[in-house]
Symmetry: C2
């Protein structure tokens, strides 16, 4: 057998797979996964709309579609996004096989081996894997409660070895749980303007806001149409319909879109028509709106409960903030504490979460951990969180 390509060596052995094995252990309480709760999927809504499809729609569902997506979905999704101020008329929208594919396509479009990419630290592991598979050099920029560090970004924006991409998830960050402040976004745009770094703005969780008052903060950078900055906006049906449909999107300028279309064609020809027809009907029937309201309410309830229990049980020198949307709470333990030790103890009592270094582009920083409340009900949160708090205390008492 010939040797594998050099891109292979940059991908680590499958951490997600290892995690999945833990998560699916019978009886375990898992705050690990980033998937929606099975009990919240709009099954009856989709049953009903599937039953109403006419023969032509069903034939379309079985058939190949155009590489950038079914025209009807591009139209309905376009209107859905336009309502958030996104420039779906001026720029080009493409349906992708999950937003993971949108990130992977953008990585392929811009990155040659050795090219640099700026990411948040911590960062969504799917994005890390997409960039690494293109043999990119990753630089993590620190993130605080309001977003990415502008100081760090400014240094990079003026580097003599400039990065090609900056990847951010400003709306209920995975894993950090934070929502970027408007001021931070404004300064980010200012810092990047005319700098030849393309911004990937990943908005997979934005619709899962808990508080109406946050809506102004949810306006995408892409919607601001900033001068001197190319913004590629990605999103997903995973959190507002179901990840099993594998549908996401990319909104980009004509020039970038055209390159991405060629890459998409070589990747999988087109995204599933079958689920595109369903997503289209889900939007057009209007069912998406009460459904989003339902999941917002449910996840807010869980987030509040988890927050209350953390507040009551965590030592005061663990830093965290109450989430205002999304799926995650991020804990920062004192610097010298290793989250792996906490995980080990928690596992003994049947509770699992993801340790921080999974999300570190360099795989180092590990005094942090991610708790998901998306896939655990109230009783699991009530039983599981005190176990983690107690494990943290035990580990802290060791030093």
């Amino acid at each position: 057998m010939p040797r594998f390509s050099s891109s292979i060596s940059s991908l680590r052995s499958s951490e997600i797979r290892d995690l999945m094995k833990l998560v699916t252990r019978p009886g375990i309480i898992s705050f690990a996964g980033g998937m929606p709760d099975n009990d919240l999927f709009p099954i009856s809504e989709v049953d009903e709309l599937f039953g109403r499809l006419d023969v032509l729609k069903k034939q379309q569902a079985f058939q190949y579609g155009p590489t950038p997506g079914l025209p009807s979905l591009l139209e309905s999704l376009g209107e859905f996004l336009a309502a958030r101020g996104l420039p779906t008329e001026r720029e080009r929208l493409m349906i992708t096989t999950g937003s993971q594919q949108a990130i992977s396509i953008l990585a392929r479009a811009f990155l040659d081996p050795g090219d640099r990419v700026l990411v948040e630290n911590p960062c969504f592991i799917g994005a890390l894997s997409a960039f690494k598979s293109c043999q990119a050099e990753l630089t993590g920029l620190s993130v605080d409660k309001e977003g990415i560090s502008i100081g760090d970004l400014d240094v990079e924006a003026n580097s003599t070895d400039p990065a090609k991409l900056l990847y951010i998830t400003p709306y209920f960050h995975n894993p950090g749980g934070i929502l970027y402040s408007m001021e931070r976004k404004r300064r980010l745009v200012e810092t990047l303007a005319w700098k030849d770094i393309v911004l990937i703005e990943d908005d997979a969780y934005g619709e899962l806001y808990f508080y109406e008052e946050d809506k102004p903060h949810l306006k995408p950078i892409k919607a601001e149409n900033p001068e001197g900055l190319d913004v590629c906006y990605t999103g997903s049906f995973s959190k507002i319909l179901g990840p099993g449909l594998r549908l996401g999107w990319l909104l980009a300028s004509e020039e970038i879109y055209e390159r991405c279309e060629l890459i998409k064609q070589s990747y999988d020809a087109c995204s599933p028509s079958f689920t595109q027809v369903i997503a289209d009907e889900f939007i057009r029937s209007g069912q998406i709106f009460p459904y989003m309201e339902r999941v917002r309410t449910e996840y807010r309830k869980r987030a509040l409960l988890m927050g209350d229990i953390l507040e009551a049980t965590l030592p005061t020198d663990v830093a965290w903030t109450r989430p205002r949307g999304g799926f995650y709470i991020w804990l920062a333990l004192p610097e010298h504490i290793d989250a792996s030790e906490v995980l080990e103890l928690s596992l003994e009592d049947g509770v699992v979460f993801v340790i921080g270094k999974t999300f570190d582009p360099q795989g180092r920083r590990n005094n942090t951990l991610r708790l998901s409340y998306c896939n655990t009900d109230a009783s699991q949160i009530e039983r599981g969180i005190p176990i983690i708090a107690s494990a943290i205390k035990k580990v802290m008492n060791r030093y």
Copy 2:
């Protein structure tokens, strides 16, 4: 904006897109597309099995699945493939987002820029695009009625600049329509043995055989477990269920599979659970078997009709053979005739097909053309084929 990656420059502007525009012109008779006929999809069968799904299956359909595929589908598909002699126990099976993704993943796993890939000439354009997007150098080997030229292959197998991959579609070749002979496959295996060239055996059309007597010829090379040769076997639900489900598969050794799983994770995390649940039920209910019989019968009828009309209308110096399965008839005009001129004339009379150079890895040879009978009914074949034959005669009379 920074420059695009160098992989971009190797992808040509979207030929499939241009073709689709022609194909969908109202009223046109199209022998161009390689998609199944809309009227043949198993719509009522899928309606029925979808209605019978229990809540747990439906939840699974909405949820993320493991990167290599849903366990239940891996099991049912594994048995389906084992019945064809494929080593699904000894090797590893992975569900991909269409077989296009399987090819794309293999390209990524093995190819660095400048690496050489051997392909058939003519060759499936999806494969050409997957290899080109990895900046591979493509070498086309000629194909006759029995398969790829062993003389050409022998030269390449002993080259001092060896290729990393050989890609073939031995079972009702796209676009050539041919079925490899057993002898040709035997010699191919012999020539490649211990040569460090991985064989990609693409079997997207094998189930569409028209004659029971051909079944021995359909036994995959992968099923022979040839010594000293790594075979990666790919296939698809596109022709035996529907391309809109975007489900294919890859069967490969553990070592290759592991690399491919990492790449798949970075591409789209997993294939659509929604359509995997449907495909699984389609196999388990047994409905796949009468359905395959139905499409075999229908495509055979169309192929025979198209053959009869070609026989009656084509000049004798146009070379072609009657297909024994699959979707295509390949015409070779005299060397000096340009199929683009034929297409131009045919289009004037409302008939479209694909010119040969589309399938040439170097985009040169163009005295050939592909006729699909998969997506035209009897009356369209009866009206359209004489128009093409007459256009061929007119162009031949010019010289």
